[in-house]
């Protein structure tokens, strides 16, 4: 199982994501420059956190035009997992791979702390190693993390069990329906504001991000077995 972590100019959680994969899974992982046109040979693609293109104009608004995003869309269309974390979530919504958008936090301030989130569904390749309803502790670090979508879209998300994480206690950014992370209708593209890659070692204050990576391995193995 091979991971690609896309690096845009201004990405800054790319190495953290790669380290987390190495630490939790020991799986091979490559940092892939945004000019790359093909993601052939990768099983999972991660769009990491940071400030791609400085978040100028609007978070993710410029990054979505990078050549690699065409390959990301193809990877997603092939049903393979794409994980967007924080800025990666913003980029995926800008690219139209996930519905809705991320607005400025209601406090109008950047906010960094460890929050609690509830795993709302385990029926995804990203969460099958969690328990449904499990409350986990994950770091957040964002200025524009308030998920927003119109009521019709929100109803769709709920109806199709696409809301993967909700803030469990305090909502740190004013997101609609306390949303912290969603999947697409096909359930293979996840966008989330919290940082699972920062929660994979006791020393960092939480290990609750590790099962997300374990989930990816488990579902990949299951699919490989079924496919064979």
């Amino acid at each position: 199982m091979r991971f690609a972590v896309v690096v845009f100019p201004g990405s800054n959680c790319d190495e953290d994501a790669a380290h987390a994969i190495t630490r939790v899974l020991g799986a091979p992982v490559d940092l892939v420059w945004h000019q790359t046109a093909s993601l052939h040979g990768y099983d999972v693609v991660i769009i990491p956190g940071g400030f791609a293109y400085g978040d100028y104009l609007r978070a993710g608004a410029i990054a979505r035009f990078s050549p690699v995003m065409t390959a990301v869309a193809e990877h997603a269309a092939a049903g393979k997992p794409v994980l967007g974390i924080c800025n990666g979530f913003q980029i995926l919504t800008e690219a139209g791979l996930l519905p809705g958008t991320l607005l400025a936090n209601d406090s109008l301030q950047f906010r960094c702390e460890i929050v609690t989130a509830r795993v709302e569904t385990t029926a995804t390749a990203f969460t099958c190693a969690y328990q449904e309803g499990q409350v986990i502790r994950l770091p957040i670090a964002h200025g524009q993390g308030a998920y927003y979508a119109d009521d019709v879209t929100l109803a769709e998300l709920r109806r199709h069990d696409q809301i993967v994480f909700r803030y469990a206690d305090e909502n740190p950014n004013g997101s609609a329906d306390n949303i912290a992370g969603i999947v697409n209708r096909q359930r293979n593209v996840l966008g989330m504001m919290p940082h699972p890659e920062r929660a994979v070692h006791e020393l960092l204050g939480s290990t609750d991000g590790a099962p997300l990576f374990t989930s990816l391995l488990r579902s990949w193995e299951r699919q490989a077995t079924h496919g064979a």
Partner: protein, 763 residues
């Protein structure tokens, strides 16, 4: 109005004043040179300087670049010959040996004057500058810290300055992706007109790859890299060296682009790996002028620059403007001749300009051309080494001998100890700084082992097995009120407290960077504060074996003749050899014992409590015994290493009662404490000074801890027990009197003012 601007621009480019006009109209004064300095330049050049040369001399000889008032005093801080020091003062940052072939590069710098005018950009560009200083050395930045001073938050202007400076620091550091691990914030009327914004960066490197700011190798090309050059920040260095920045224009404040900085950081580190670089330096104060002159000076060479080659943001920029621009996010790189294209390929990948603008010469001059025509030429030594050095007169200011000023211990006894404690916890200086550090990404790079909010922050170093081994601990500390009330002792306290903070976190203090913020050095009283406090810092650094490897001086922090508190800030780094020994301030378990290491408070002087009760700073600053300080910290470190310490917190602003409150609030546990005091109850609870550390230990370990303290002749008092009753309950038995004094407060009542003071003020 637009055409007027164009006219002005054309004028600035074409109609530069002649050397004769500069003399006759004394235009050099507007650039910050005094008459004697101007005459000295004429003597050195054996002619009158032209406009470009006058500008170049004025910035190179500014206080900010030349350290003309401070240089002689700073020799007291020499760390030459210390075995831990790989690079001492004089380079872009200092570097120390932390073992395993690793070096730690770090430095702190002020951005006070720009932040007083435009707090967001002033603070942001301060962060940007210090990051460049560190990666210029070849180090990967791993942490940012800061030290901030503002006037009280009851003023709208102060709230604006504070709020925007914090937002600027956050915006820059968060975007570049370096965790900001906290620091300190103090509010006092002394900083109302001159807030202080000091930023520190720490970087990690392989020892073999220290890069330096040298322009060596005749014929080697000079590459200007990064952002284009604009008209922003012209004369920023001069502006940082004058009284009353408010009388100046905002155009002298630079604008930061953290995205550009991130690209520059990655490109420069990639370039240094490729070994095509001879020397590298960032363009900070005085831009291209100081970076090129300093690089030539260090190499004993000369440089030639053609300003027509410099990529500019605006049309028609003059040689004067290009040489003096302080546009941010630019670097000067001396590449190996013939390998320019390799260097440029790296920058192209990152989408950055990298243009050859000149070359190294053997003529020992800074020669400035414009499209091949000579625009200015000056000896490098004249700019760097022959800057005037001043022996400023120092005289002890009268206030230091004013009995009214030193009358803290004459304050009437507290009527209500619990109410006073609540008032102290609600002081923004004492209260939780979560409102501040929650805006900083403190966890990016996924290696933050101790986050902001404790005594020191710790970044863990990766181990080969994808885990972590060892930690780098860091802190910033300084107490302007202590220094104001006793400059020498106050300087010692800053060093001692920084070391104590590292110790409490489980680390060994290793080395220091300083940022020395003072008023107008031309005043004898201010210069006395400077000399005395530097003397105190030097003495404490020797006593605690922490060499000073880098630093910065910020003078002229005065407005309308009022100087700030003399505020030297100490940035200190250390190493925690074992990550299992990292210790936080939060109480851990009910039933555990609490004990106090170190001497009891001797005076209310200097304390936050005395300032609260007296409405102004009241002395004397608590005395300090550096030998006892070193012993107390040693006992604490050894106890942590022995596994006896469950929590530790040093006693500082607000005294012992505040320390205990913070341990209870963060641990969400109470404490039931009884001990015997001599003298006033408020002195015991709110007095400051003395190397005091509160430690939590299991009952079974307490005797060993006490024995260890006694063996080293460190005072030890058992205070009581951690309790699951969420109340801080203190009973003070008085030596000579039958009655017992009590202070009791539910933790929830302590938490509210402590957590909400700053959010309330900023609402």
């Amino acid at each position: 109005m637009a055409h007027e601007t164009v006219d002005e621009m054309t004028q600035s480019a074409l109609a530069e004043p002649s050397p004769e006009q500069i003399r006759a109209r004394r235009l050099y004064r507007e650039m910050g040179l005094c008459d004697e300095e101007y005459e000295r330049i004429c003597t050195i050049l054996a002619r009158e300087p032209n406009h470009v040369e006058t500008g170049v001399f004025s910035v190179m000889w500014s206080e900010h670049c030349s350290y003309k008032s401070s240089k002689r005093v700073l020799r007291l801080l020499s760390s030459a010959g210390h075995p831990r020091v790989l690079q001492g003062p004089g380079e872009n940052a200092g570097v120390i040996d932390i073992g395993d072939g690793l070096g730690l590069a770090f430095k702190m710098e002020s951005h006070n004057h720009p932040s007083a005018i435009e707090p967001f950009q002033g603070a942001a560009t301060g962060v940007g500058g210090i990051i460049r200083d560190v990666f210029t050395m070849g180090a990967r930045p791993i942490a940012l810290l800061n030290s901030l001073r503002f006037g009280p938050l009851d003023s709208e202007r102060n709230r604006y300055l504070f709020g925007h400076a914090v937002a600027g620091i956050a915006a820059y550091g968060n975007c570049v992706g370096i965790p900001t691990l906290g620091g300190e914030v103090v509010f006092d009327p002394a900083y109302t007109h001159n807030p202080l914004v000091n930023a520190m960066c720490v970087g990690l490197m392989r020892q073999g790859r220290i890069a330096r700011g040298v322009a060596s190798g005749v014929g080697n090309p000079l590459l200007l890299v990064g952002a284009k050059t604009g008209r922003d920040g012209i004369h920023g260095a001069t502006f940082a060296s004058v009284e009353d920045p408010h009388s100046r224009e905002r155009s002298a404040v630079q604008v930061g682009d953290p995205f550009m900085e991130k690209l520059l950081l990655e490109a420069c580190l990639e370039l240094l790996d490729a070994d095509v670089v001879v020397g590298i330096q960032d363009l900070g104060a005085a831009g291209l002028t100081s970076s090129s002159a300093e690089m030539a000076s260090r190499a004993g060479s000369g440089v030639e620059i053609d300003v027509a080659l410099v990529p500019c943001r605006e049309a028609d920029m003059s040689a004067y403007e290009i040489m003096l621009s302080e546009s941010q996010e630019r670097m000067l790189v001396v590449a190996r001749r013939g390998r320019e294209e390799e260097a440029q390929a790296v920058f192209t990948k990152w989408g950055l300009d990298a243009v050859v603008v000149g070359r190294v010469t053997d003529e020992k001059t800074l020669r400035i051309l414009r499209a091949g025509a000579l625009a200015a030429e000056m000896a490098v030594t004249a700019l760097v080494d022959e800057a005037p050095l001043y022996d400023r007169p120092a005289a002890r200011p009268a206030y230091l001998d004013d009995p009214q000023m030193m009358s803290a211990d004459a304050l009437p006894d507290s009527h209500n100890l619990a109410a006073d404690l609540l008032d102290l916890l609600a002081r923004p200086t004492v209260a939780s700084k979560a409102w501040v550090y929650r805006q900083y990404d403190s966890m990016v790079r996924a290696a933050t082992a101790l986050r902001p909010g404790g005594d020191a922050a710790v970044v863990a170093l990766p181990s080969l097995d994808c885990g972590f081994q060892r930690g780098v601990a860091m802190t910033t500390d300084g107490n302007g009120r202590y220094v104001y009330l006793d400059p020498r002792t106050g300087g010692m306290h800053a060093v001692a407290e920084a070391a104590r903070n590292l110790t409490c976190s489980g680390a060994r203090p290793l080395a220091v960077t300083d940022c020395l913020n003072f008023g107008n050095p031309e005043k004898a009283g201010v210069f006395y504060q400077f000399v005395e406090s530097v003397t105190g810092i030097a003495e404490a650094c020797r006593a605690l074996d922490v060499p000073v490897v880098s630093g910065n001086v910020s003078f002229y922090n005065e407005t309308n003749g009022e100087d700030i508190f003399p505020t030297p800030i100490i940035g200190m780094v250390g190493v925690a050899d074992n990550l299992d020994h990292l210790t936080t301030i939060a109480l851990k378990e009910s039933g555990n014992m609490l004990a106090l290491l170190g001497a009891a408070a001797e005076t209310l002087g200097g304390s936050e409590y005395a300032a609260l009760r007296g409405g102004r700073p009241l002395g004397p600053t608590p005395p300090i015994d550096l030998d006892l300080e070193a012993r107390t910290q040693l006992v604490c470190r050894e106890a942590i290493q022995a596994g006896w310490v469950r929590a530790a917190h040093d006693v500082s602003d607000g005294g012992l009662a505040v320390t205990l409150s913070e341990m209870c609030i963060t641990g969400d546990l109470g404490a039931d404490l009884t001990w015997e005091i001599e003298g006033r109850a408020d002195l015991a609870l709110f007095g400051e000074g003395g190397p005091r550390i509160v430690v939590e230990a299991r009952e079974a370990d307490l005797a060993a801890l006490e024995r260890s303290a006694r063996e080293r002749n460190v005072p030890f008092i058992t205070l009581g027990r951690v309790s699951e009753q969420k109340t801080l309950s203190i009973q003070l038995e008085q030596a000579q009197r039958p009655e017992t004094l009590e202070l009791s407060a539910p933790i929830v009542a302590l938490r509210e003012p402590w957590e909400e003071a700053i959010p309330w003020a900023m609402r």
